[in-house]
Amino acid sequence: MRRVLMTLIGIVLAAIPVQPARAADVEPSLQLEYPQVLLGGHARLWILDHTICSLGGGPVTIYLDDKTVLADSIVVPVKQQVLVEPLIPLKTTIGSHMLRSHCAGELGSSGASTQIDIVAPPTPILIVSPASAYAGDVVTLTGTDLPTGCAGNGFPVTVGGQDAPVLFAQQKHHQYLMTETFIAAVTARVQVPAQVHSGQQAVRLGCAEGVHVSLEIRPAAVVPPATAPSHGKTRTPAASSTSYGLVPPPLPTTHAAPMPSPPYQIWPVARITVTGTAALFLVALLVAVLLWSTRRGRSIRDVRCVADAVPLSVGPLAPVSGRTVHALRLRATAMPPIYASKEKTP
């Protein structure tokens, strides 16, 4: 019920359009979507109502707090939103900033300055269902509205201040304009390093701190033994948690109080006890069978592919007429790859 309610709230919140703040008497109005753009990251500048540069796509220079954030030749149509990228490291905080633009085109508002407001970051939402995730649990994190600075970069994830091993991560990009790619959402399957409870806002995805984050339990349980002690709650094995074959052993917990062992067994192992005499007998039998099959050699069953690292001599065909083919083996050898010379710099 709680998940359904949170999902409905999320849908409603997502459907509400964000109205950018506009200065009352200065134009054009621009809005920096992300409150803090880390080194090398991107910023979305939404140019509303009035263009700040020429129709012809002439060079445009934008200054934010007297720092150049964009100096490139872009086409900004009139009365359209545009996505631009700072070409120098930009780090801003929540508040108002002066923004000026300089355009070299015909219709630009050269030298115009305006006050822009920085929108507060979305409040992190952490959904834990059921109420807690234990150390070693494999959970799914979903982050949305991520800036591009989080692309790749090892995709670090911390839960409760501790690094959470990432087992699987998927990023969905959005393509804006022609060449710019921005991450829209990230889904990561991580292993919880320590117990977390519902309502904790301690999840960090990459460099995106303060993003919409939902944490959903996907227990790594495989087989719940009948005699296992109970936590008082039921864990339902999820098929998705084993679809990638990623069921690592649980990490040591960091709680002050010792955690009881989970009420399920990971990797059930069937153990076979073999006495020394029986092992010797089996080995002798195996050797005898191998020798017998080798000496027979009446059928071509030994077609194997052997990948050797040692280059072999290349020679002409050697006919084997008159001989009976007992065994045919194929030995493949790969030479070092040949990379072509450098192409023209794009």
Partner: protein
């Protein structure tokens, strides 16, 4: 929309060339029709059952040694651009800095020579020389470099053409698109320039 999967199985030349069994069988059909294979099969008096699948076995053996990651081909090509290496060296010298380098449309070619030796009763009988040529054509791509490593890629469209040749005769050609986000294992970053050792 582009989907990037990290920590997945790397895309290799083998996966582009012989991703499915029917593709392997189709290539084997064309390989069996080449003069080299016909000479081999006539010289070695193989039973009919083995002779029919010799080409497929040769390609299976060749595929086992062509698991060359696409990422290495891409990185080898990007190493050839002065802008990329300049940024990599700069970030290696200053580990706290990050640089983005954008490349327009460019190509990343590579040739993988493969030799398959046929051993009959343990002795050399014939050698089949194969060659896999891979040409990746990458649209606009952005590379993020840190500490001399490639740590992030703004995914651009990347098409590939893989040509399998046997003794200079074209056997089969594969074309398609590859997701560079999947092909590049960026979890730990890909080393372009080794970091400068710390001064004691």
């Amino acid at each position: 929309m582009t989907t990037t999967i990290l920590s997945a199985a790397p895309t290799t030349v083998e996966s582009l060339m012989f991703s499915t069994k029917p593709l392997l069988q189709e290539a084997a059909f064309h390989l069996a029709a080449t003069p080299v294979l016909q000479r081999v099969t006539s010289a070695i008096r193989l039973p009919n059952g083995v002779r029919g699948r010799l080409a497929e076995d040769i390609l299976t053996a060749a595929a086992s040694v062509t698991r060359h990651p696409i990422a290495e081909i891409l990185v080898a090509a990007w190493r050839g651009y002065a802008e990329v290496m300049h940024a990599a060296k700069a970030t290696a010298a200053h580990p706290t800095t990050t640089q983005w380098v954008r490349l327009g449309q460019h190509r990343a070619p590579c040739i993988l020579p493969v030799t398959v030796e046929l051993l009959v009763n343990g002795s050399h009988a014939a050698t089949v020389n194969l060659e896999v040529e891979v040409v990746l054509t990458i649209n606009t791509v952005g590379l993020q470099l840190r500490e001399g490593r490639l740590v992030a890629v703004e995914t651009g469209h990347c098409s590939y053409e893989v040509i399998l040749r046997c003794e200079a005769a074209e056997v089969t050609v594969r074309r398609g698109e590859v997701d560079t986000g999947i092909a590049l294992p960026l979890t730990q970053g890909m080393v372009l320039v080794p970091p400068r050792p710390a001064v004691a």
